[in-house]
Symmetry: C2
Subunit: 136 residues, 2 copies
DNA sequence: ATTATATAGGACTAAATCAGTACTAATTGA
DNA sequence: TCAATTAGTACTGATTTAGTCCTATATAAT
């Protein structure tokens, strides 16, 4: 199945809240309220995004998260990579020959790379802004 | 995780054997030999492909499978759809509003469709031939 | 007709993965 | 020092997938 994880799905929902105009950092609990997603889940997603520097975090009271970049400049590929890890549609993609026992005789070995690259490119060309409702 | 199933992976390996020049139908067991994949697994993949008419089957003794089309005309999208079902990166894609409890308030509802469409298109534009080794 | 060979279809089990939660540590403003 | 908030990690239950097996159906050869 070609599916993104729910975490990646949630990430976009969460980022949409952070993309709204605001001054102070926005807390995880506020985002959970707004999105009606469970608090721990929202926290987890925010941590993943912060670790990859898609968002910035501020600790302490009145801390929270900030979106430092414009939604136009954040690619869907980067969001998915932050939550799901590197995009690789098969184990064979970018694994140097030891993806499975069959690799030495496999007539397709290394060939999924092209498909993978095409998908990555498609998602790099699509921005957060493009999946937000105000955009057409 | 954006991953295709192993079945889809196997499907391409199996189709490569069927794409080799031949006259008579090729049996599942012969393909299993050639690919070193387990017999039941190969059978399962072949059945999935036959049901979607990507390959044709002949029953009875000296029966087997045939590839009726040229590898250039078989898209990666059609192969993945045959083994994995419709391509939908989230439950929200092409579901008329009842994908999850949050759909009525979701700021992203319906918005993954565009990403999904881009991925489908990328895979429709890529043929079986393009993932076979002799092709550059 | 009978038999052997091959696919069709569905059901089942074990393994891997993911979603979700909880807990503890670290940071910082008041 | 306390309270609020993020950081990191570990755990559990649920879901999905992979792989196998069994029975039914079709057909060529005899």
């Amino acid at each position: 199945m070609i599916k993104i994880s729910k975490m990646a799905d949630y990430a976009v929902v969460v980022l949409e809240v952070l993309a709204r105009p605001h001054n102070d950092p926005i807390s995880a609990s506020y985002i959970a309220e707004q999105t009606k997603l469970p608090d721990p889940t929202v926290s987890k997603v925010l941590k993943l995004l912060a670790r990859r520097n898609i968002i910035a975090s501020v600790r302490g009271p009145s801390g929270g998260y900030i979106l430092p970049s414009q939604p136009e400049t954040i690619s869907i590929a980067s969001i998915i990579e932050a939550t799901d890890g590197p995009i690789a549609i098969t184990d064979c993609v970018s694994s140097a020959g030891n993806c499975c026992e069959r690799s030495s005789i496999c007539s397709i070995h290394g060939r999924w790379d092209k498909v993978n690259a095409a998908l990555v490119q498609a998602m790099e060309n699509m921005s957060l802004k493009q999946v937000m409702k105000n955009y057409e």
